[in-house]
């Protein structure tokens, strides 16, 4: 077995194992950590596919930022592991069956018969001075400048949305907060003195 195949299968195994653990872990922190592992394994696969920039971005941005964010939220919410196990087990066979069906169907489309090795051969190794970053950059800032800027705007929108959704500080305007008004209890407003 060639080295490439060993690398591929090992990383693939780690990826699938950690994905399964994400789905079935009881503790959400554990699930998050397994997700991190899945990303790392996936980054390895991408490196094998000679997409170095993306592999690194995956680790740095996704793992470093997004998963950290996940962990922040998980820990902030202080979630107890909930006890819905029996329902979990009950639905599992049915869902597994359906998922297996769907995956089999997908295999039919993208399996070896549709994409045989004879027609789709792996590209050769690139030259040593091949810079994936340069290749991406050459296209990104010229042909895809507009989508790039839009992606920036999307991120801005995400920031604004996230903040405005969860902001709980002092409001500058005097609009009525109906949700708060409804939640008022007698103890908040009345203090019996005598």
């Amino acid at each position: 077995m060639a080295m490439t195949q060993i690398i591929f299968y090992s990383f693939a195994a780690i990826l699938l194992f950690s994905a399964t653990m994400v789905v079935s872990a009881r503790n959400p922190v554990r699930a998050a950590l397994f997700l991190v592992l899945a990303f790392i394994a996936s980054a390895g696969l991408w490196l094998q596919l000679q997409a170095e920039f993306l592999g690194l971005v995956l680790v740095l941005v996704y793992v470093g930022a997004v998963m950290t964010l996940f962990l922040f939220v998980v820990m902030m919410l202080n979630i107890n592991a909930s006890e819905q196990q029996q329902r979990f087990v009950f639905y599992l066979p049915l869902v597994a069956l359906i998922v297996a069906l769907v995956v089999m169907l997908m295999f039919k489309v993208i399996g070896p018969t549709s994409f045989p090795t004879s027609e789709f051969f792996a590209p050769g190794m690139r030259a040593s001075d091949y810079s994936n970053v340069e290749a991406i950059g050459a296209v990104l800032y010229t042909d895809y400048l507009y989508p790039f800027e839009i992606a920036g705007v999307i991120l801005l929108a995400a920031i604004v949305a996230a903040i405005s959704l969860s902001f709980r500080g002092r409001r500058r305007d005097k609009t009525e907060q109906v949700a708060e008004q409804v939640r008022v209890k007698k103890a908040d407003r009345l203090r019996i003195i005598k």
Partner: protein, 655 residues
Amino acid sequence: MEQTLQMMSLGLVLAPLLASVVAGFAGDWIGRRGAHSVTIFCVAISFCLSIYFVNHFVLAAAAPINFTVYHWLVIQSLQLNVGFLLDALSSMMAVVVCFVSLLVHIYSIGYMHDDPAYQRFFSYISLFTFMMLMLVFANNFMQLFFGWEGVGLVSYLLIGFYYQRDSATLGSFKAFMVNRIGDFGFLLGIAAVLASFSSLDYAAVFAKAASLQQQTVTIWYGHEWSLMTVICLLLFIGAMGKSAQVPLHVWLPESMEGPTPISALIHAATMVTAGIYMVSRLSPLYELSNTALNVIMIIGATGALFLGLLGIVQNDVKRVVAYSTLSQLGYMVCGLGASAYAVSMFHLITHACFKALLFLGAGSVIIAMHHDQDIRHMGGLRRYMPVTYWTVLIGSLALAGLPPFSGFFSKDLLIVAVSASGLPATGYATACLTLGVFVTALYTFRAFFLTFHTTPRMDETTRSHLHESPAVVWLPLVILAIPSALLGIVMVSPVLFASQTLFVNTIHVAAHHSAMAELATEYHGAFKLMLHAFVTVPFWLALAGILVAWLCYEKYPASPAWLIKRFNWVYRLLLAKYGFDQFNQTFVVGSTRTLGRFLYQVTDVSLIDGFVNGVAAVTGLVSSVVRRIQTGFIYHYTLAMLLGLAGFLIWLLWG
């Protein structure tokens, strides 16, 4: 000249309508005096114009004028117009209508004096006058039908005038319903005319009538009928409804629920004679069908005798006169069957006078008796109401048919004409009519004696208040008594037997129906006719009737009770009016109700409502099941998406 006549005819017909509208809508504003003044004024205008018309078309024998006032509807080649046909027949009828209407208007000032709905009454009787004149002057079937329905409508409104009373509303319903049945046949007849002649104008129809004499039409099971017979019989069904012939006569007694003036106007003189007028007007058609004439004669004769018999046992003074009207209408219709249209029209005219007189006289008595109408509570009114007494006596003698009063001429000539007819039913008809004379005299004078002679039977308070009615009430009585007495002597020759009879160019008698012609050959003048009466049967029968009435009610007052006991089954049969009402109630009304109930419960409630509600219920049921899918849980939605994806992929790969 013709232009002037057209304008005058328009004025004649429209003046009562104008009065009716003014009195109806502005009644509260112009008050009682305004209402009766405007209506009497307009009807007086119509009356004067109709006198002028009679002078022009009858006495001066001018040619008829047929003109169109207004093109109402044009459907391809069919033109429906509003048009007037001015000739001797319509002029005579118009005079009768306007004369009686005018007198009734004047009479109503006194009779309706205490009624709160005074203006409404005058509006209605003017409206009636308008409708009747439209009917009389019509020159096509559509306008005839308009007038026909219009008088039926106003009759309904007037019978139910005291609408707070249940009996009045029921009576008006009955009148309208039975009329409607007749109108159904009438409408079928008009449709048959339209289908056969492609036109509804009298002129076109009469011109083409002779050519269609042999034509037949198949109605059921391949059985062929003569077209003319079918048309004439269908049109006659309308006359049966409107002119109260057997079996559609049941509405007339109940119509006495209305105020007495309208009983005089509508149910004695004018509306019920519309059928007679219609058959006379359509004489060119009826002459072509012997079968129809035979049927007409039989129905008329049956009504004349048997409905007259019912008058003997009635205790309400208005009902006696109502049954008398039914009987006399039978006489007129029988005369029509004998092709003696002119004699029937003459009897119509004389009957209008003396019957209106009798009704108005009865009204005068009712006013005096404080609206108690039972003749068993009357008696001896002769002393208290002399004018009413003498005028009603003249009317009763005219009705009984004694010379020299007008009723004698018309009724006697009618009986002779019927006996001279060549139709198969002549024998039966003559027998009925002759016996009817006895019956007529009997019930008339029974009521007369019980009311005006015999011992007073009313209570003391009423008796002390008895007095003659005011002038507005007895003046019309006197005015009507004059033609009742003299019209016969004066008019019989000019109307019937002049060399150019008054109804020439209007009434058409076929050569083989020779009754009138035979009559003419035997007629030698009015005076000779009166002398001849002494040797005819009807005269002695009439005297016998008066004698029997006098014996039973004046001389031997206990005899009616004995007769009732002796012939109890006859008495009960007459009281039950031969069971017509029970028959109608059980079969006609009962079957209609059952059908209605069936249609309501089965088709409407179960089928249609069930279907519509069922659709809604099914939708509700289905949706209450389907909405369980919407659980609100994300994982169910995701599963659904997954299943959809799987299905899509399967379809994509193998579909």
